[in-house]
């Protein structure tokens, strides 16, 4: 509504430019995180792209209402929530590094280890107690180490 009253073309263009600058800076890292989540490969990641496009669309929709919020954090949270909602689709790995893990384990590993989000924030995001996040993370790390050791063993 406010947009319409003061919705001049220049303001809209400014907002689009700002958003595009944000995407140019953040999309690479976010797409990598999304690709890790959907366990797709670096070159073939249509699901990760769809997820990220939807999350970025949400960020754009609230762009004018962002106060002191970090758009990167907002997009990451939306991406994680979106992935958690549709996790059943991604149960089967598609050749990514985390293919061996369940969707929830992937979420915890990516948020904790790749994105470096604090345990209590991951817990709040996924609706899990902190101890459970720690346990899932430790279990996933152990599983990943085991698979990578096995791969190294077969390769050698």
């Amino acid at each position: 509504m406010r947009e319409h009253r003061s919705g001049t073309g220049t303001e809209h263009a400014y907002r689009v430019r700002e958003f595009e600058a944000f995407v140019a800076g953040a999309a690479g890292r976010l797409l990598h995180a999304a690709t890790l989540l959907t366990a797709e490969t670096r070159t073939r990641n249509p699901h990760a792209r769809t997820l990220l496009t939807a999350a970025l669309a949400h960020t754009y929709a609230v762009w004018g209402r962002l106060r002191d919020e970090d758009p990167y954090d907002l997009t990451r949270r939306d991406l994680a929530a979106r992935f958690a909602r549709t996790a059943r689709r991604y149960r089967a790995g598609r050749g990514g590094v985390l293919s061996a893990l369940h969707p929830q384990e992937r979420l915890v590993v990516v948020l904790r280890l790749y994105e470096g989000v604090a345990e209590e924030q991951v817990g709040a995001l996924l609706g899990l107690p902190e101890a459970r996040v720690r346990a899932v993370c430790a279990r996933s790390v152990a599983a990943l180490r085991a698979t990578s050791d096995r791969d190294a063993g077969t390769a050698a």
Partner: protein, 83 residues
């Protein structure tokens, strides 16, 4: 460094592969879809407000006509006569 942290660092290295190439039209598509979503939300919000206003007006009109707070005239008591 403990063994556990060692393992976590190894997994971190495993995740830290080069980023996938970002499609060139990602920002444009996201902006278009986000603008559509914002517009839909705006329309839905206006519709709900309109509905609320209509309901409030309808209630006010009905209440002023029916006056449901007034005690209805007694129908069972026989009229007092010859007092």
């Amino acid at each position: 460094m403990t063994r556990h942290e060692d393992k976590e660092a190894a997994v971190r290295r495993m995740l830290d592969t080069p980023h996938p190439p970002v499609p060139a039209d990602l920002a444009v598509r996201a902006a278009a879809s986000g603008a559509r979503r914002a517009r839909l939300e705006r329309v839905a919000r206006r519709l709900l407000w309109g509905l609320f206003v209509v309901a409030a007006v309808a209630f006010a009109v009905w209440a002023s006509a029916a006056r449901p707070w007034e005690v209805p005239p007694a129908e069972t008591t026989p009229p007092l006569e010859g007092w």
